[in-house]
Symmetry: C2
Subunit: 203 residues, 2 copies
C-alpha cells in the first residue's frame, strides 16, 4: 500500500500523526498541489474529488478521506485505540472529533481558502466575507475546547485520541491561515504544549 | 434515554431513520427552533453548540452530533450493520458518508442558512455569495453519486448504510433549500426512488 499526500496540507498530517501513534509505517508519495498534480488524470481516477490523502491498497483500491483512512488502520491495529473504547467512549470520541473538525479545522481551512491569494485558482469563487466570518467561529471553538480541557488531560478524558490529532493539526494550521489564537485559554495552552511535544507531532 | 430534536431539521431525521432501520425505539422530545428553545439555559447545558439532535442517557450524559449518536447505537445493536463490516467495508462507508455529508448535506445546509430570510437571526453573518456558491457544489456531488450508483444498488454496494441515509436526507432538504436537482441522473433517480420508499424514510 501507499499513502498519496501533500506534506504542507493539514489533512494528510492527521493521517501521519495517527500512523505514528500506532507505530505503523506506510510508504508515502508526495504530490505537488502547486504543480497541479492533484488535477492529473491518474490522480483523478483515484479520487474524483482531487484531494489528498488517498491510501492506495495493494489491489489498487483507493481509500479517500483522512478519517476513513484512520479508521481502516484502527480496525486492523486496534491498539492503542484512537477512536475510543466501548459504545459510549467511541461515541464521545466521534462527537469531539466532529465538533473539532467541523467547527475548528473546517473554519480555519475556510479562512485560508477564501482569503489567501494563492488559493484563488483552487477555491472558486473565493468569498472573502465568508473567510472572515470563519475566524470568530474557529476562535469560539477554541474557547469550548478550553472549557472541556479544564477537567480533562486530553480532549475526551485521560486518553489521547483522534480528536486531539484533529485539534492539534487545526491549531497549527491557524498560523498559515492567519487566524489569531485567543489569549488567556490556559487549559488549551497546557494541552497544546503537551500534545505538540509528543513524537508523533513531528510526523 | 431520550432524543431531543427538531422534526423539521435534517440532522435529527438522520438519527430517526437510523433508529428505524435498526428497529430501535427511543422517546423523543421536540424543541422549537423558532421559539428559541435551542438557546435556553437548560438546553445549552446539554449542548453548548445549541444544536439538535442530543441524546440524553439515563445518567444525564449528553451525546451530541448525529453520527456520534448513530455510532453509539451501532455499537449497542450491531445488526443490521449500517456503518459497514470489516476494516475495508467500514472505511468505505465512512469515506462515502463523509463525502456526502461534507460535499452535499453541508452544501445544501449552507445554501439554506445563507440565503433563507428566516435563517438571518441564526446564521450571523449571512453571506449570500457563499450560499449561492454552494448550489453547484451540491449539484457536482450528486453527479459523483450518480456515477457511483451506476454499478451499485446502494451507495457503498449491495448493502444499505448510513451513507444512504445522509444522501437521502440531504436530497430531501434540497427542496427546502431551493437547490435544483440536475436532470438526467438516472442512477441517482433509481436509487432515490428505492430508498425513499423504505419504511424508515417516513421516520
Amino acid at each position: 500500500m501507499k499513502l498519496l499526500e501533500t506534506r504542507m496540507a493539514p489533512n494528510p498530517r492527521r493521517v501521519r500523526i495517527f500512523l505514528a501513534e500506532k507505530g505503523i509505517q506506510v510508504p508515502t508519495e508526495e504530490l505537488d498541489l502547486m504543480k497541479g498534480e492533484l488535477k492529473s488524470d491518474n490522480f483523478t481516477k483515484l479520487n474524483k474529488l482531487q484531494r489528498v490523502p488517498v491510501l492506495v491498497l495493494d489491489d489498487g483500491t483507493a481509500l479517500c478521506e483522512s478519517i476513513a483512512i484512520c479508521r481502516y488502520f484502527e480496525e486492523l491495529h486496534p491498539e492503542p485505540a484512537l477512536f475510543g473504547k466501548g459504545a459510549l467512549g467511541k461515541a464521545q470520541v466521534e462527537m469531539w472529533q466532529r465538533r473539532i473538525e467541523l467547527g475548528l479545522l473546517a473554519s480555519v481551512a475556510s479562512a485560508f481558502r477564501h482569503l489567501h491569494p494563492a488559493m484563488a485558482p483552487l477555491e472558486v469563487p473565493q468569498v472573502a466575507a465568508w473567510g472572515e466570518a470563519n475566524k470568530p467561529k474557529a476562535q469560539e471553538m477554541l474557547k469550548l475546547l478550553d472549557e472541556q480541557l479544564a477537567g480533562n488531560r486530553y480532549i475526551t478524558g485521560d486518553t489521547y485520541s483522534v480528536a486531539d490529532i484533529t485539534a492539534l493539526v487545526a491549531m497549527d494550521f491557524m498560523r498559515v491561515a492567519r487566524v489569531q489564537r485567543p489569549e488567556g485559554l490556559a487549559n488549551l495552552e497546557r494541552w497544546y504544549g503537551e500534545v505538540s511535544t509528543r513524537p508523533s507531532a513531528k510526523a
